[in-house]
């Protein structure tokens, strides 16, 4: 078994001084029959080793598309990346050759998907699908791959891993299936894991277990984690910082607790207000009025302006950049930013 462990560790990367991943001014658009849908419109974020970035947003906000662009699993066409850089350890992934890119996928940057049942191949055993990582990237033999798969299943605490390694995905419960997805992402000990709504398809009790496991493994391996979610509850416990996305842009960034305590963007404010609260039982739930914009026709100015209670003339004309947010007493708040002309007023309201 010792050889198997060494074999897995051999390609472990040296620590990198800067941020592991840096997304710079990323744009992604999709060609559709009705025109060009602008899914991502200038996203910037960074993730360092051991850090968890939560990307929060509704469906269609561009959070998953950004992740797929990082992974390089967008279908191009119809997708196109007209602008931007994705730096992994200082190297632009978008400028890499296909083969070079493939070696990074799964090995250095891995991804966990939402629905483990449809994301696992129904006709191949989980052992095969886990072992494939070692076979494709490390040239492992069948026997080695199987031994490593059992080890992985043990590590994500799947009971009786030895007996279950030849089972098929449909024979596992939802939580166990998501553990297999996590094991698969973890297989080659990547630097960075992108988890796209990893717990959305699970029962609430199982959600917590899976999130805890993910957080624990992340700390153990000192990985960077991008957690994509629309669930404010999931984020609070595990994330270090949050980026809120709306219509393909980041509208607010903040360390996790500051965002909850004092949102600096009216959209974030709206999201927090729409969480049902026990002390408001019996009252009508708050909802942000209107609908997210059609990505084929994003409104001019701030994309949120038609739904914003604070919108002024300037919001309809100019796209707000991400302003540095300072605390109410004027002291700088590192890591905070808001793409709202009226962030100060929004902050004061809280």
């Amino acid at each position: 078994m010792t050889t198997a462990v060494e074999f897995g560790r051999s390609e472990r990367q040296e620590p990198y001084p800067g941020p592991l991943l840096e997304v710079r001014d990323l744009h992604v658009e999709f060609k559709t029959r009705d025109g060009v849908a602008k899914a991502v419109n200038g996203v910037n974020y960074t993730v360092s080793a051991g850090e968890t970035l939560a990307v929060l947003g509704e469906s269609g906000s561009g959070k998953s598309v950004t992740a797929q662009a990082i992974m390089g699993i967008l279908d191009m066409p119809p997708a196109r990346i007209p602008q931007g850089e994705i730096l992994y350890r200082g190297q632009d992934l978008l400028k890499m050759g296909r083969e070079e890119r493939r070696r990074i996928r799964g090995q250095r940057i891995a991804m966990i998907f939402q629905d483990a049942l449809s994301s696992l191949n129904p006709v191949l055993s989980v052992g095969h699908q886990l072992g494939e990582m070692f076979r494709a990237h490390r040239g492992a033999s069948r026997a080695e791959a199987k031994a490593r798969s059992i080890e992985l299943m043990d590590r994500v605490r799947i009971p009786a891993a030895k007996d279950r390694v030849s089972d098929y995905p449909h024979q596992f419960s939802g939580g166990m299936r998501q553990r297999i997805m996590i094991a698969m992402a973890l297989a080659l000990e990547p630097d960075l894991i992108i988890a796209d709504e990893p717990t959305t398809a699970l029962d609430v009790t199982v959600q917590a277990q899976v999130m805890d496991l993910l957080a624990e493994l992340q700390a153990e391996y000192h990985m960077g984690l991008i957690l994509i979610t629309h669930d404010l509850g999931v984020v609070a416990d595990v994330a270090d910082k949050i980026a809120v996305m709306y219509a393909g842009r980041i509208v607010e960034t903040a360390p996790v607790h500051e965002l909850y305590a004092s949102p600096a963007h009216p959209y974030t404010r709206g999201l927090l207000d729409s969480i049902p609260r026990l002390d408001q039982k019996g009252q009508e739930l708050y909802a942000i009025k209107g609908l997210p914009p059609n990505l084929l026709r994003i409104p001019p100015g701030c994309a949120f302006n038609p739904r914003c209670p604070r919108a002024q003339e300037i919001c309809r004309q100019e796209v707000p950049r991400l302003f540095d947010v300072t605390a109410a007493d004027g002291t700088p708040a590192p890591g905070r930013g808001s793409a709202c002309f009226f962030w100060k007023e929004t902050l004061d309201d809280a």
């Binding site: 992974m71 699993i73 493939r102 070696r103 990074i104 996928r105 799964g106 090995q107 891995a110 991804m111 998907f113 629905d115 449809s118 994301s119 696992l120 191949n121 129904p122 006709v123 191949l124 055993s125 494939e132 990582m133 494709a136 990237h137 098929y168 449909h170 997805m181 698969m184």
Partner: protein, 308 residues
């Protein structure tokens, strides 16, 4: 699995009895008198007619005829045709010919149909895809007898590569042209079914996962994509093999092949009751077994399907 197979085999019994009875009734309900037909224009001697009727059991009520027939059948006696030849003999001549032809056609369906479907499925929207779609549409729209006669005219009469009709059905090279004609329609269906299935599976989440795992493209296509996409195609092919075994009346007719289709067609024309019922009985069994095998194969291909 074992109990499932036993149950399926037991289910075959009523299907088998029902199907044979229906065929029996239909053949004997046909207008016309086969015994009178034996004498042609000549006036029949009533005594001779009566003895013939008795010999072929035709003087009994229908249900008795059926019971008598089934009884013989369980003793593996398929009866005697009105020409005096044993039906078992007739079938022993015809079935090997049909099986050879069916296998040639089946070979074409797999070797040509599958790759065409995979090509057009993977290269959706390209010129290759369009080409495959147009060709298969053409093949589907042209009736077999037209296709058969065109093939015969072009390859036999004009080019002279083959003889217009099959002289010796034991010679596989002579069966290539009829086999291709017989395969054409199913081949087009196989190509289209494969194309659709590949197109659907290509967008599946597990293919995205396989890509995200950094697997080489070839592994993704052969291990993940094809394995899933071919499940419906394999079931179609299995059923089709059963259908091919039933003989091909038109193709066998054009190329003068003495297979099951040809014999059956003539027997119906001549009201050869014992021959028709005998052949159809065997075909019913072939179909039942083929569909059972397809169902079992399905479970092998897709682990989500379990028979208990």
């Amino acid at each position: 699995m074992g109990s499932y197979i036993i149950r399926r085999v037991l289910q075959m019994i009523p299907v088998f009895l029902g199907a044979t009875f229906l065929i029996f009734v239909m053949v004997y309900a046909l207008p016309g008198d086969p015994i009178a037909a034996m004498f042609g224009d000549k006036a029949a001697d009533p005594a001779q007619v009566a003895s013939l009727r008795h010999k072929y059991y035709l003087d009994q009520p229908l249900w008795k005829q059926y019971l008598h027939y089934m009884n013989n059948l369980f003793h593996l006696d398929f009866g005697t045709s009105f020409t005096g030849r044993s039906v078992a003999d007739i079938m022993a001549d015809a079935f090997p010919v049909t099986i050879r032809l069916a296998l040639v056609a089946f070979f074409f369906e797999i070797v040509v149909g599958l790759p065409l479907g995979v090509l057009s499925g993977l290269k959706r929207g390209t010129i290759w895809d369009t080409l495959v779609l147009i060709i298969t549409l053409l093949v589907i729209s042209i009736p077999v007898f037209v296709l058969g006669y065109i093939a015969q005219t072009v390859f036999a009469t004009d080019l002279g590569w083959v003889t217009p009709t099959v002289q010796d059905s034991e010679d596989i090279t002579q069966l290539i042209l009829p086999g291709a004609v017989l395969a054409a329609l199913s081949l087009a269906y196989v190509a289209r079914l494969t194309r659709t299935s590949i197109g659907e599976n290509l967008r599946a989440d597990y293919i995205r996962t396989a890509t995200a795992k950094g697997l080489p493209r070839r592994t993704i296509v052969t291990r993940h994509l094809l394995r899933n996409s071919l499940i419906p195609v394999v079931t179609f092919l299995g059923t089709d093999l059963g259908a091919l075994m039933g003989g091909a009346i038109v193709t066998e007719g054009i190329f003068n092949i003495k297979g099951v289709g040809n014999i059956l067609y003539r027997a119906i024309g001549q009201k050869e009751g014992p021959t028709v019922v005998g052949i159809v009985t065997v075909l019913v069994v072939v179909y039942l077994v083929a569909s059972l095998l397809v169902d079992l194969l399905y479970a092998v291909l897709d682990p989500r399907i379990r028979y208990a």
